[in-house]
């Protein structure tokens, strides 16, 4: 039986399984790894060739991988000067490419769809439709009352603000470069992305959680005084609860409730009424050639 070691600096008594429980667990012995696997993996790990007759033929992920560190594989003919010259040229080429790309990349756009300007206020004041986009992109705080409001970002993401929502949009850069953030303070948002969303990055920052879009549909709702509920109905989202380092990966049909107490998030299936509001956005008609999921 394996006895776990005692940690230093741990004043609390060490929890140990009872002998009968430890004995039962100790019978849980996995099958011994195949000798061929061990030999071939060892040969590649150490950097030599596989032993004769034990070349690895499985279609595993290891076969195309480099056998040793780049340091030992560097061709002897490439000296430091040549290497630095190559790095400098590559950097220059990348800078030129980035400059050309950024100059030609379109700026981010945001539109109000299926809603009226009268449904929203920006920084607490009514706003005219013709200045709505500019002020949203400039970081104005959006509030809506009893009517839901839909915003379309760059024709690749549809964001619906639930009634009585307050949020600020931090858009991505020209051409979708960088990360866009929706800073949700109260209410809720449902997000649906178009197939052309990738490789953009969008994060919803709620009071008790951050939710990263990984090409998906999801909803985030702030429950005052309790926490933030994240529901994923398609694809995946990555959720990090406030004050916690671990990231929860939510797949379609899963929810996580991030507590304001910073307790471990509670996970479970998405409730029907929560998913319905998100799924309803699938009927949104994206511009030509950008069909909804």
């Amino acid at each position: 039986m394996n006895h776990p070691p005692s940690d230093e600096h741990e004043p609390r008594p060490e929890p140990h399984p009872e002998p009968w429980l430890a004995d039962a667990l100790d019978e849980l012995r996995p099958a011994a790894p195949r000798a061929e696997l061990r030999a071939s993996l060892r040969a590649r790990f150490v950097g030599g060739d596989a032993p004769a007759g034990q070349e690895h033929t499985e279609p595993s992920a290891a076969s195309p991988r480099a056998p040793r560190s780049p340091r030992t594989q560097r061709p002897a003919s490439v000296g430091p000067t040549a290497r630095w010259r190559a790095i400098a040229l590559a950097t220059l080429a990348a800078a030129i490419a980035a400059f050309v790309f950024l100059r030609s990349a379109p700026p981010p756009r945001v539109e109000l769809v299926a809603s009226e300007a009268s449904d929203v206020t920006l920084d607490g004041a009514p706003v005219a439709l013709d200045e709505l986009e500019e002020r949203l992109l400039a970081g104005a705080t959006v509030r809506n009352a009893a009517n839901a409001v839909r915003l379309r970002l760059d024709d690749v993401a549809l964001v619906e603000l639930a009634p009585h929502t307050e949020l600020t949009l931090r858009p991505w850069g020209p051409g979708g470069d960088g990360e866009a953030r929706l800073e949700l303070r109260r209410g809720g948002v449902r997000v649906v992305t178009a197939p052309t969303f990738a490789p953009r990055r969008l994060t919803v920052a709620a009071p008790h959680a951050e939710v990263a879009v990984v090409g998906t549909e999801f909803g985030v709702d702030v429950v005052e005084g309790s926490g933030t509920c994240v529901c994923c109905t398609h694809g995946r989202v990555a959720v990090r609860a406030l004050g916690r380092e671990s990231v929860e990966q939510l797949a379609a049909g899963e929810m996580a409730f991030c507590f304001s107490s910073r307790a471990e998030p509670m996970r479970g299936p998405v409730k029907d009424d929560h998913s319905a509001a998100v799924i309803a956005l699938r009927r949104f008609e994206w511009p030509a050639a950008k069909a909804p999921r």
């Binding site: 776990p4 940690d7 429980l21 849980l28 780049p70």
Partner: protein, 211 residues
């Protein structure tokens, strides 16, 4: 914020316990770890010989299928090999290795969430109906019950139990490997044991019997 859970090697030194203790580094002293970081073949061979069964045991207890376990073990050692380029010799080796193995498992479970749920569902089914002799060697009814009981735990709780009970890691090392706090590691161990106790109570000695 991280968008994909695709990290392999932990960030250099991030939350990894500093090593001054050879026990937390498979007996590698600082000079040996420095040689390892330089790609010394002798040290690489030594590390492999010391760590292979440990990493395999950890992964094989975490996933139901031995073939998947083998794939994940290979993934782990490929990532370990790549990660040596950024490994800092002053950090303990053992939690570093198990961090990489845990990352491989995390990616696997995230990608195959449904498969993981199937594993968890084992507890509700008679174990022998799911067992193929080539998949796993069960030595007794008690072993089968133990495996089913372990499968009912969450991935994180299962990882804590395996790392603590079978691999003998300290809470500090487990916390580093699973990116959780030391207290959380301890709590999950205690709660995991409690659940296992309930599931396996039929194997507890009856009152009056010697334990």
């Amino acid at each position: 914020m991280t968008h994909e859970s695709t990290s392999s090697a932990p960030a250099p030194g991030r939350r990894l316990p500093a090593s001054g203790d050879r026990a937390t580094s498979f007996g590698f002293d600082l000079a040996a770890r420095q040689a390892l970081a330089r790609g010394d073949r002798e040290q690489l061979a030594r590390l492999f010989d010391l760590a292979f069964e440990r990493v395999h045991g950890y992964i094989a207890r975490m996933v139901a299928d031995e073939h998947i376990a083998e794939d994940l073990v290979q993934d782990s050692f490929v990532r370990i090999q790549r990660g040596l380029a950024t490994y800092r010799p002053e950090c303990a080796l053992r939690p570093w290795l198990f961090t990489i193995a845990s990352n491989v498992l995390r990616d696997h479970f995230a990608a195959r969430r449904q498969a993981a749920l199937d594993v968890d569902a084992l507890a509700a089914e008679p174990v022998d109906r799911h067992e193929a002799p080539s998949v796993r060697v069960e030595h007794s009814e008690r072993a089968a019950a133990a495996r089913a009981a372990l499968a009912t735990l969450s991935e994180q709780a299962r990882a804590v139990i395996v790392l603590r009970h079978f691999e003998g890691l300290s809470y500090v090392e487990i916390a580093a490997a699973l990116r959780i706090s030391e207290d959380t590691a301890r709590q999950r161990y205690v709660r995991g044991l409690a659940k296992l106790r309930v599931r396996l109570v039929s194997f507890a000695p009856k009152a009056g019997e010697p334990s």
